[in-house]
C-alpha cells in the first residue's frame, strides 16, 4: 500500500514535468482541434511540415545555430586560458578577477542589453551577427570560465611536466595531454554555452533589432497571437537541442546543472 502511494505520487510528479512536451506534441501533430474537443481528433504531420516549409523557420534556426556555434567556440577560446589560471594559480588580485567574471551573472540581461544597444548602434554592430555574438558572450563566458576552472582545480599539472620531460613538444603536450584530460568538462562547457546562446531572447532582441531573427524571437512573436499548432511546432524545434543535450549529459549535470540553470 505504501509502495503504491509512493509510486503514484512519483508518477504524478513525472507527468507534470513531462506535460509541456506532451502538450506541444498534441498541438503540433493535430489539425482542426478546436474548443470544446478535449483531445485531438485528427492527427497529421501537415502542420509540422507547413511550419518547417516556412523559410522564416529554417532561416531563424540556421541563424540561431550559427550564432550559438560562434558564441560557444569564442567563449571557449577566451575562457580556457583564464579558467586555467584561476583554477591552478594563487596570485594577488585573484579574488577581484572572480568578482569581475561574476558580475555578468548578476547584472540583468535587460540592463546589459539596453546599454549595449546604444553603444552598438553608434559603432555599427547593432543588427549584425558579430554584434549579437558579442552580446551573447557576456552570459556564456562566465559560465565557461567557472565550469573549466573547477575542472582545472582538480587537474594535475605533473602529467604535462612528465610529457615535456619525455620529449613531447608543448603543442603535442597541449593536444595529447591537457585537452585529453580536460575533455569531459570541455564538452559540458561548450554544450551549455551553446544552449545559453540558442535560447537567448532579450539580448538578441535588443542588439539584433529586428534584423537578426532567431527561433526564440520567432516563437515569441508567434505566441503573442499566432495559431496554437504553429506555436507548438516552433516550441518543439526550440527545445530539441536542449532536450538532446540534457539527456546526453545527464550524469555530469548533477555537478553543473545548478550553475547554468538561471541563465535561461
Amino acid at each position: 500500500m505504501k509502495y503504491l502511494t509512493t509510486s503514484s505520487l512519483r508518477l504524478i510528479l513525472y507527468l507534470i514535468l513531462i506535460a509541456p512536451f506532451l502538450l506541444f506534441v498534441a498541438y503540433a501533430f493535430s489539425t482542426r482541434w478546436f474548443f470544446p474537443h478535449p483531445f485531438p481528433i485528427e492527427w497529421t504531420v501537415f502542420t509540422f511540415q507547413r511550419v518547417l516549409d516556412d523559410t522564416r523557420t529554417i532561416s531563424s534556426m540556421a541563424q540561431g545555430l550559427w550564432i550559438a556555434l560562434l558564441v560557444s567556440v569564442l567563449s571557449l577560446i577566451l575562457g580556457f586560458p583564464a579558467a586555467r589560471v584561476l583554477g591552478l594559480r594563487r596570485f594577488r588580485g585573484r579574488h577581484l578577477v572572480w568578482m569581475l567574471f561574476f558580475l555578468p551573472t548578476i547584472i540583468p540581461p535587460l540592463a546589459i542589453g539596453m546599454g549595449l544597444n546604444i553603444l552598438f548602434l553608434q559603432i555599427g554592430l547593432a543588427g549584425t551577427i558579430p554584434g549579437v555574438v558579442l552580446a551573447h558572450i557576456i552570459p556564456t563566458l562566465p559560465y565557461t570560465i567557472f565550469t573549466l576552472s573547477s575542472a582545472f582545480a582538480r587537474f594535475d599539472e605533473n602529467y604535462e611536466f612528465q610529457a615535456l620531460a619525455l620529449g613531447a613538444s608543448p603543442i603535442q603536450t597541449f593536444f595529447k595531454v591537457t585537452l585529453r584530460l580536460m575533455a569531459p568538462s570541455l564538452v559540458v562547457a561548450i554544450l551549455f554555452a551553446f544552449l545559453i546562446s540558442w535560447s537567448q531572447y532579450l539580448l538578441t532582441l535588443l542588439i539584433g533589432g529586428g534584423q537578426i531573427i532567431t527561433l526564440p524571437i520567432l516563437l515569441f512573436s508567434a505566441a503573442s497571437g499566432g495559431n496554437p499548432s504553429t506555436i507548438a511546432t516552433l516550441s518543439l524545434l526550440f527545445i530539441a537541442p536542449p532536450v538532446l543535450v540534457i539527456v546526453a549529459t545527464a550524469r555530469s549535470l548533477n555537478r553543473h546543472g545548478n550553475e547554468i540553470r538561471e541563465q535561461y
Binding site: L17, P20, P81, R84, A111
Partner: protein, 284 residues
C-alpha cells in the same frame, strides 16, 4: 620558468577580462549617461535629473509596476521554496534513480517555452478549459476563469513555479544527499516525531542553501522580461516590461526613463545577489 609565472596569470586572463570589462563598462556608461538625459544621437548633451524625477514622481506608473513586480517575485519565490522543500524531503525519503534526471529534464525548457506551454494549457480556449467543458463545468470559453494574461499575474506566477520548484528541489536534494551522517535517523532513534525531524533537523540543514537559492530566484524573476511580457497584460505591467517598452519608445524622453528603471532594477538585484553570495559563503 619562475619569472614567466609572474606575468602569465594576467596574460592568460587578459582576453576574457578585456571583453567583459569593455562590454560591461560601456553598457553601464551608456546606461548612466542616458538616464541623465545625455542622448548624443540627437545632440542632447546636458546633464539633467528630469528622467529620475519623472520616474519617481508619486503619480508615475513606476510605483504600480514596482508593486506588481514585487508581488510576482515574492509570491513565486515563497511558494516555490515551500513546495521545493517538501518535495525534496519526500524525494530523499523515497529514493528513485530517475528523480534527478526527471528534474533536470526541466532544464531543457527555457522560461519562454514554459510560458508558451502554460498559455496553450490555461487560456480560455486552452486544454484545461476544454477538459472543464468535457465534464460539464463550463459551456463556452468565456466561462473559464482568466488564468493567463490576468490582472493579478497568476499566469506569470504559475509559469515561474513550474521552473523554480524543480530548480530549488535539486539544490535542496544536493544538500540532503551530501550529509555524511544521517542526522534524521539519529533523531528518529531518539524518539523525534516526523514534524520534529523536519523542523529541528532537516530545515536547519538545508536553510542556508535554500535561502541562497531563493534569493537567486527572486533576483532572476524580478529582472526578467519574457515571462511577464508574454503572460501579462497592459496594466499593471512588471517593472522590466515597463523599462523595455519605455526604452523602445519613439519618444526620446521615455528612453531615459526606461534607463532609469533598468538601473533601479539592477541595483535591487545586485543587493539581493550580494546577500545571497554572503549566505552561500557562510555555508562553506
Amino acid at each position: 620558468m619562475r619569472d614567466k609565472f609572474i606575468f602569465s596569470p594576467w596574460l592568460s586572463l587578459a582576453p576574457a577580462m578585456t571583453i567583459v570589462l569593455i562590454l560591461l563598462g560601456a553598457s553601464l556608461f551608456y546606461a548612466i549617461a542616458e538616464s541623465l538625459g545625455i542622448i548624443s544621437v540627437i545632440g542632447q548633451n546636458e546633464i539633467t535629473l528630469s528622467a529620475f524625477r519623472d520616474t519617481l514622481n508619486f503619480h508615475s506608473e513606476f510605483w504600480i509596476s514596482l508593486g506588481f513586480s514585487l508581488w510576482i517575485s515574492i509570491a513565486s519565490t515563497l511558494i516555490s521554496s515551500a513546495v521545493a522543500l517538501l518535495l525534496a524531503v519526500w524525494l530523499s525519503e523515497h529514493r528513485g534513480n530517475t528523480d534527478t534526471l526527471a528534474l533536470n529534464w526541466n532544464l531543457a525548457f527555457p522560461h519562454l517555452v514554459w510560458s508558451v506551454a502554460l498559455l496553450l494549457f490555461l487560456s480560455q480556449s486552452g486544454l484545461l478549459a476544454r477538459w472543464a467543458a468535457m465534464i460539464g463545468l463550463i459551456s463556452a470559453p468565456v466561462d473559464f476563469p482568466v488564468l493567463v494574461r490576468d490582472r493579478f499575474g497568476i499566469g506569470i506566477i504559475l509559469s515561474y513555479l513550474g521552473k523554480e520548484i524543480p530548480f530549488l528541489t535539486l539544490i535542496i536534494l544536493a544538500v540532503l544527499r551530501s550529509q555524511s551522517v544521517e542526522y534524521d535517523v539519529v533523531a528518529e532513534n531518539l524518539g523525534a516525531s516526523k514534524w520534529q525531524r523536519l523542523r529541528y533537523v532537516t530545515i536547519p540543514q538545508v536553510l542556508p542553501a535554500l535561502l541562497a537559492g531563493a534569493l537567486l530566484v527572486f533576483g532572476f524573476i524580478f529582472s526578467s522580461y519574457e515571462v511577464p511580457a508574454l503572460l501579462g497584460i497592459g496594466y499593471p505591467r512588471a517593472l522590466p516590461v515597463l523599462a523595455l517598452r519605455s526604452f523602445l519608445d519613439a519618444d526620446l524622453r521615455a528612453r531615459s526613463e526606461g534607463m532609469v528603471i533598468s538601473l533601479i532594477i539592477t541595483f535591487i538585484v545586485m543587493v539581493v545577489a550580494v546577500i545571497s553570495l554572503r549566505l552561500g559563503e557562510r555555508k562553506e
